[in-house]
């Protein structure tokens, strides 16, 4: 009996996870990208309008090079060992690009941040 309840709970967790994935993947793109480091917002850029550029982020001596090109943003270079952030490619959906060692997060900002940017 208890096992059945636990099966049910596990099933609910799994389905909720899938629903969350779909929700994250279908999150609307706003064009405004927020770059934050160590929990603080460093920059907000409208990449659909911004010109092609490189942004260098530094944290405790380590660097990430962020590239904005043709209205898309990605991490083009990192001096960590695993290169997770580089391998994540361009920012496309609700899944943020992160660099755990350098505490860097690149994500689409919610709509209400347009006002702040303007």
């Amino acid at each position: 009996m208890k096992i059945k309840v636990l099966y049910l709970i596990a099933g609910i967790i799994f389905v909720a996870g899938i629903a969350g994935c779909i929700l994250a993947l279908s999150a609307p793109k706003t064009g405004v990208v927020r770059i934050s480091q160590n929990g603080m917002v460093v920059r907000e850029i409208d990449i659909s309008k911004a010109e092609d550029q490189f942004i260098e982020m530094e944290f405790e001596g380590r660097k990430n090079l962020i590239e904005i090109k043709n209205g898309e943003i990605r991490v083009s270079h990192a001096d960590c060992s695993d290169k997770v952030c580089v391998n994540m490619g361009r920012l496309r959906s609700g899944i943020p690009i992160v660099c755990l060692p350098n505490r860097l997060v690149i994500e689409f900002a919610e709509n209400d941040f347009d006002a702040v940017v303007n």
């Binding site: 208890k2 096992i3 636990l6 099966y7 709970i9 596990a10 967790i13 799994f14 909720a16 996870g17 899938i18 629903a19 969350g20 994935c21 929700l23 994250a24 927020r34 934050s36 160590n38 929990g39 603080m40 060992s81 695993d82 997770v84 391998n87 994540m88 490619g89 609700g94 899944i95 943020p96 992160v98 755990l100 060692p101 505490r103 860097l104 997060v105 994500e107």
Partner: protein, 169 residues
């Protein structure tokens, strides 16, 4: 602690570390940090159902510390530590409810708890933007947890058949 038991625990830790290092060499198709099979946890789950709580904690504690050194990624230590504490605590509790023929179910819960701990540390350290990963971690945790759980269940079954672990039960 008897020398025999200490040797067994050291052996388990060693096996887990070997599996961990081998798994490091497998390229990860998912570019999200935290998503991996976690094959080393087969040993954890096996230990969970064959040893006492404090012995399991010792094996896991030593394993994650040495794994961080072998993997050369000390920042990962904090994440795996928080994850492991939650996971071990949760599974030790679930062990009372879930018998050894449903190990994979308890492994699923362990994996989800592990990922929750990791995300909690990540939110604390990096900021809440990272919470977008949580659903992906949960789904991968369920699948990987079920897989490692099945492996551990298989091992337990085989060992019982051969009566190797009779004196540990």
């Amino acid at each position: 602690m008897k020398a025999k038991k200490m040797t067994e625990l050291a052996l388990l830790t060693g096996i887990a570390l070997v599996i961990f290092v081998v798994e490091l060499q497998i390229p990860n198709p998912f570019p999200i940090p935290g998503i991996k099979l976690g094959l080393a946890n087969i040993v954890t789950i096996y230990a969970m159902y064959h040893y006492r709580a404090c012995e399991v904690m010792m094996v896991v504690g030593v394993r994650i510390f040495l794994a961080a050194i072998f993997g050369g990624n000390m920042t990962a230590l904090l994440y795996s530590f928080a994850g492991s504490v939650l996971c071990v605590a949760g599974m030790l509790f679930l062990k009372r409810i879930i018998d050894s023929s449903h190990i994979w179910l308890s492994s699923v819960f362990g994996a989800v708890l592990h990922n929750s701990g990791q995300i909690a540390v990540a939110v604390f350290m990096i900021g809440k933007g990272i919470i977008g990963y949580f659903p992906f971690l949960i789904v991968s945790g369920c699948l990987a947890g079920a897989f490692t759980g099945f492996c551990a269940q298989l091992i337990t079954k085989r060992f019982l058949k051969k009566d190797i672990s009779k004196d540990k039960m």
